[in-house]
Amino acid sequence: MTVNAMTSKEVTRKVFSKEELFILDVRNESDFQDWKIEGENFKYLNIPYFELLDGVEGIMDKIPSDKEVLVVCAKEGSSIMVAEMLADEGLTVSYLKGGMKAWSEHLEPVKVGDLKEAGEFYQFVRIGKGCLSYMVVSNGEAAIIDATRMTDIYLEFADSIGAKITHVFDTHLHADHISGGRNIAEKTGATYWLPPKDATEVTFAYQPLEDGNLVEIGNVEINIHALYSPGHTIGSTSFIVDEKFLLSGDILFIDSIGRPDLAGLAQDWVEDLRESLYKRYRELSEELLVLPAHFMIIEELNEDGSVSEKLGTLYAKNHGLNIKDENEFRKLVTENLPPQPNAYQEIRETNMGKINPDEEKQREMEIGPNRCAVR
């Protein structure tokens, strides 16, 4: 029968709408175990392509004929080969265009709300890796927060809605993905803001982002209010936008909290993390909509694919915000931590401007899930 190419965007829509999909992942077992396409109603079969070189007859009984089938590999070459073999056996199947490489780089813009005056708030969901970045748009101007390295997507999106990017922020020095912030600022002439305590080793000029900074976007009064909230890194800074949205960076997630160990100072930062989550955030309005820089599991997605929750709800439901005993808290965030993100030291050095790997190398450094949280 036939082989179709399915794009990352189409797969993303299936994740959001909780559709069924049967994924035949033909990468190595270890790669599959480490990181795969997640969907609530997705079923999986992992058989490395190199075990199928002599034919797919042996696995035909494991592939459903009544479900949509997607063959996935690292870049797409092997999935096309296997998809064609399946088609020769009479199945209609798709392969993932660009493979997991494209999946890791796909960003899906989702509108998360309107501003009080004219303006919109967009979340860019990096579905394959769990990174979340943001664009605040008002009156022809836009600010971007925690941009990924796929900078063209933001530039094209801003262009399509007729907005000029004037401010770019990073809530902290990222360790799990390469920031596109500096690149966007260079291309657009926007101001690039970084928390100075995270930027002590950077090799480029930036605008120091400090507690109490107010930034206006568009000529309508939209306040971006910086709130110092250390713990994941020493400089980690949150933003309150338009008195309605709380951008929590890697401090607070929907179902988990930040981990303090990625810069090697877990013990030192535990108290900062606790202070940020249990005191500074406590003083904020429970009505604020929390917009984190990551999601960890697909269940954190809302119906429309966005990732957000009211602060009050998180204080009621997020386990990490409800640990009374300080020692127990210390244990949670310093012991039995998940593995550190792939190449996190090199990623930090790239974000500081100390090393300049080419695009292929950057891609390789970012492979895999983000792992910035503890539950």
Binding site: D31, P48, F50, L53
Partner: protein, 189 residues
């Protein structure tokens, strides 16, 4: 590095997945058991895949050298070494040899595996002479010293020990089973 020899070299440079593995599989079928294939590739993913493919097909993945953009993978075709009956009477097990090495006795360890096997993992100071070259190179060895012959499973070393005995070496001991279960010190490259 010139010591690292392969029986066949496959050039898969510039090819994207799945082609490096497809070609490796095809080339491998033409090799004789125990021979070493060097696969040159530029696809970064080929390293993990060659290793996993080798393991799933019973071939021995020896290791990968990275030289700039080029990855050189070394694989030894599966052989039935283990099934051959051993004949050399004088044997020692791994842990006994380990103790002798720790006691720094004046002994010689002779590794008769292929150079590609030796390079990626061997006992420190072991002398490398592949079984196939022993006939010509036995003169490099000292007949007065105790020579402990090691390979992967104890079979090639058995043949090597017999060959040395024929040539008048009297203090030759076969190490059993050999590198496959070696827990002592090793070194690489």
């Amino acid at each position: 590095m010139e010591k690292l020899k392969a029986n066949v070299i496959l050039d898969a440079k510039g090819l994207a997945c799945p082609m490096p593995i497809v070609k490796t599989k095809k080339t491998m079928s033409g090799l004789e058991a125990g021979q070493v294939l060097e696969v040159q590739a530029t696809d970064k993913g080929s390293k993990a895949d060659i290793k996993a493919w080798s393991e799933s097909t019973g071939h021995q993945y020896l290791g990968t050298l990275e030289e700039g953009e080029v990855l050189r993978h070394y694989i030894r075709k599966s052989s039935n070494d283990e099934k051959i009956e051993r004949k050399h009477p004088n044997v020692i097990n791994n842990s006994e040899l380990e103790r002798k090495l720790e006691a720094s006795e004046n002994i010689v360890v002779l590794d008769v595996r292929e150079t590609a096997e030796y390079v990626f993992n061997h006992i420190p100071n072991a002398i490398s002479i592949p079984l196939g070259e022993l006939e010509q190179r036995s003169g490099e060895l000292d007949k007065e010293k105790e020579i402990y012959v090691v390979c992967r499973t104890g079979s090639r070393s058995d043949l090597a020990a017999q060959k040395l005995a024929e040539k008048g070496f009297t203090k030759v001991i076969n190490v059993i089973p050999g590198m496959i279960q070696w827990c002592g010190k090793t070194t690489t490259l």
